[in-house]
Amino acid sequence: MIALHDYDLSAEGYAVRLFLALLGLDYRLLPVEFYPAREHEGEEFRALSPMASLPVLVDGDLVLTEVAGILSYLAARHGGADWYPAGDAAQLGRIGDGLALSARLAATAGAVRLADGMMLPLDGAAARAEAKRLLRVIDERLWFGEAAGDDWLCPGPRPSIADIACFPHIVLAEEGDIPLIDYPAIRRWLDRVRRLPGFVVMPGVFGA
């Protein structure tokens, strides 16, 4: 059975929990106290993951330590054509772009949320400014997507793991004092993600 080492307030961990729920997969949750104990930096956890970051997914001998890798694996292994368009090179490229975008969000909106909540050192103003730049780009993309009849970050009738990876950092952005009022297309997209069958919440995230 899949095991997930995770912390319940982790946005990255939530992306994985959300995708596991959307896929209807059972898994074993192994809580790691990120704050205040910082268990992920202990020797025991480093033996599993030298990255000392959360979440970590273990499936048999496979150990994955980044959201992009975990979601890609789960999509390819369990998601079928709906979540892994194996023959569509352009779409796979777009999904890869979207996963990288989620990492940029994690480093900005995600980091400032953690820094505020857990008193970690960070240049908050710089992180918020870059998050705002990213959100403006995403809002424009989604606005024109809507105009073309597309609901998701990558064109097409179905959401992709790019949506799942980006959603937690955006829906939780206001916890890092990044208001979402200026991104109406993003706010509508958040509603659409919330309405996906199997959607689950985390602290700070409401359902549809």
Partner: protein
Amino acid sequence: MSYHPVASSRDLAGRHVFQACLLGQDIALWRADDGTVNAWENRCPHRGVRLSLGVNLGDRLMCRYHGWRYDSGSGACSHIPAHPEGPIPATLCARRFPVIEAGGLVFVALGDDTAALPTLPETAIPLRALPVGRPAEAIAAALAGAGLAAAGPLHFAETQGGATVHLLIQPASGTTCVIHGLADMSAEALPLQRHMSRLMESRRRAWEARP
């Protein structure tokens, strides 16, 4: 207080709650399933939670915090989950603002003044609205300075891609505004919408780069 644009009709998607800010007043905007547009103070009368975090139930808006429900149109509270049988005072009501949908945009006035709307083209297509981190007056001055024709203090027009484009400035907070665009055309709108989005993004970068 006169009417100001706060959203495009398209922004009020089904079962969505749109958040706007007009002259420092936070507003929850939502369209009921029957088409009625509601513009309410973004604050639950019960505990003050933002109604834009709530749920659009189609005919009522439900606050996230304690599930109090407010009717479309009247704004009257019609359900309190903790007191399902209890009488609800008639005064318990979301604070409503006058709202008019016209020319593809949604206009709100903060007072009861029924001042006329800006004169708008009949066949106009809304462009993507652009929030700017500068006060409305500064952007009006910048557009006037760039040679756009002024049709009102916060209303400008220019020709782009063979169409007349109206730019209406929503004074959001004291330091921010939103520019709503209307293109007077009935042809295929997407190329002009893309062109205007890029042009306005470019203008915004220049405006926001200035101290």
